[in-house]
């Protein structure tokens, strides 16, 4: 069954079509990738999925419900979590506090509960801490939970983002260029972590990535887009040998001829 289903999605920025009639699906429990040259509309698509942009036409169904006009926090609550291309941590807060933010949409204590510290509120705080610690342990950052997020090395900051996304207890995790800025070893760990999240937590994953090595290794299905249009779809082997994909990345011979003419 498709967990995420996008149909004929169109997004325009004052006349410029960023996403053009794009359709694709992500199957429950799979690891899917979205690739394409710079400016192909990948991050714009993520922003449509998570409610930050309003698409001009088309349908988005998540878990069989339309999420087209929903606010970002409602979409997160519905079970879709994301990470950002440029890290967006709460830098002056501790690692633990960052991860605790993910549990916000799964809890409900308000001002009165906070002021009187009712038993329900205390149980909830306890739960938030426990889940956050589990998420930190999962990404291997538990021992750094009391450090300020802004002071961590880059690779660790990425892990905080994943832990934070996991703490929202998602069904689908959207990773926006998770390997950007990571070194070779960190990339290997990332591959393991992605497989780990899917295999152990059963979370479906959709990632945008430039690192082809990583994409080819983890993805079960790859969707290639260029100028906001889907140009190819399939397994790593199928996509790699597709002439349209090669053209989008390397340019066609015709163009080259024109260039040198």
């Amino acid at each position: 069954m498709a967990l995420l289903e996008v149909q004929n999605l169109v997004l325009r920025f004052s006349g410029l079509e960023v996403i053009r009639e794009l359709s694709f699906t992500v199957e429950q429990g799979s690891i899917a990738s979205l690739i394409g040259p710079n400016g192909a509309g990948k991050t714009s698509l993520f922003n449509c999925l998570t409610g930050f942009y309003r698409p001009d036409a088309g349908q988005i169904h998540f878990n069989s419900h339309s999420i087209l006009r929903k606010k970002p926090h409602k979409i997160t609550q519905a079970g879709m979590a994301r990470t950002f291309q440029n890290l967006r941590l709460f830098k002056s807060m501790t690692v633990m506090e960052n991860v605790m933010s993910g549990m916000h949409c799964r809890t409900s204590a308000g001002a009165l509960g906070a002021v009187f510290q009712t038993p329900a509120q205390r149980r909830e705080e306890e739960l938030i801490r426990r889940v956050s610690e589990e998420c930190l342990a999962f990404v291997g950052l538990l021992e750094k939970k009391n450090l300020h997020a802004g002071n961590l090395p880059y690779g660790d900051q990425r892990r905080v983002e994943w832990a934070r996304a996991l703490a929202t207890k998602p069904k689908l995790l959207l990773l926006d260029e998770p390997a950007a800025g990571l070194n070779h070893d960190e990339k290997q760990e990332l591959i393991e972590l992605i497989l780990h999240i899917r295999n152990e937590l059963g979370i479906t994953i959709l990632l945008i990535e430039h690192d082809m090595g990583l994409v080819m290794k983890v993805s079960e299905k790859i969707t290639v887009i260029d100028y906001g249009k889907k140009i190819a779809e399939g397994t790593a082997d199928e996509v790699q040998n597709n002439p349209k994909v090669i053209e989008a990345y390397l340019g066609s011979e015709d163009e080259e001829d024109l260039l040198w003419a």
Partner: protein
């Protein structure tokens, strides 16, 4: 920056304060001092200190909006006015018991907070500042033009409340009333700051989009902060009305809003001790410089400039990263 291990008294003092136990000792001593001061202070000092506690409540209320949620509010005096007028009108026009007007004042300031906050909190900060400024002026002008609020001359002869048969009329009574209110305000602020809601405010303040992506209702938590801040102002206004026994629209000018905001910024946004220090500075500086006559506001301004130049994050800033 890691705190250097030099012999700086300030640094050592701050480190010492990091321990929960030491903090409690300091708090107890300060509370004891605040409790016994009226026994030795003269009427003038008592009046000034009462005023300082009063501003502490207002500043702590505004701190929830500005310090915790990061919303620039330039019309906070409006909520203070709503509380004061609610109590003033209900007691003098309708003969309602003062204590019963407090829930009414809380309710009215809450409604005012929702009315102004609901549509405007969707705006980003600069626009919000302008809208709140306008709202503050609207409330004042309405108060000046309605009959029930006594027009430009305001309400006079607001009855003093009684507390178990004792009429609260002397300076010392109001000193303790405002001290207790300030302590309650500290307690509520502290509990809120260290809760799910308090963290949500901080997430939104640091990065609105990331907070929203984490499932936090940006507008909802801002409105929460705004309304709670308004309630603090409403309660303070209620007690202000019965302390002064007279209120007029000119008490709730834009300058008043700015003064309260100044206390928050001067002391250190988002830190309860900072805000208290700021509120005291606000009230005490002009008094200390009274000897300079008409020059005192100028000196006050210079002192503030110096503080902002050398401690831009306030006298008692937030913890550094």
């Amino acid at each position: 920056m890691a705190p250097s291990s030099d012999t700086s008294v300030v640094t050592n003092g701050m480190n010492w304060l990091q321990h929960q136990q030491n903090r409690m000792i300091v708090l107890m001593v300060l509370a004891a001092v605040a409790m016994v001061i009226p026994l030795v202070a003269n009427n003038y000092m008592l009046e000034v200190l009462t005023n300082a506690w009063f501003y502490t409540i207002l500043c702590l209320g505004l701190n929830i909006v500005v310090g915790y949620a990061g919303l620039l509010d330039l019309g906070y005096a409006a909520f203070f006015a709503v509380g004061a007028y609610t109590t003033g009108i209900l007691t003098s026009e309708f003969g309602v018991n003062f204590w019963l007007t407090i829930p009414a004042a809380v309710f009215c300031s809450m409604v005012a907070g929702i009315i102004i906050g609901g549509p405007t909190l969707r705006l980003r900060s600069d626009y919000l500042a302008i809208v709140t400024l306008g709202f503050g002026e609207i409330v004042r002008i309405i108060a000046r033009n309605l009959e029930i609020t006594g027009g430009a001359s305001g309400l006079i002869g607001i009855e003093r409340p009684t507390f178990f048969g004792i009429e609260l009329s002397q300076g010392i009574h109001f000193y303790y009333v405002f001290l207790l209110l300030a302590i309650a305000a500290c307690f509520i602020s502290y509990r809120l700051q260290h809760s799910r809601l308090g963290r949500a405010w901080q997430y939104v303040r640091e990065d609105e989009d990331a907070a929203e992506a984490m499932g936090i209702n940006r507008v909802g938590v801002k409105l929460y902060a705004y309304v709670i801040g308004a309630m603090f102002g409403g309660v303070a206004g209620s007690f202000f009305a019965v302390k002064m026994t007279a209120i007029s629209p000119e008490t709730f000018t834009f300058a008043q809003s700015v003064l309260i905001l100044l206390g928050v910024v001067l002391g250190g946004m988002g830190k309860i001790p900072g805000v208290i220090v700021g509120a005291f500075a606000l009230v005490l500086f002009p008094e200390v410089f009274r000897g300079f006559g008409s020059m005192r506001m100028l000196i006050f301004a210079i002192v503030m400039l110096i503080i902002m130049l050398y401690r831009p994050e306030g006298i008692w800033p937030r913890d550094k990263t």
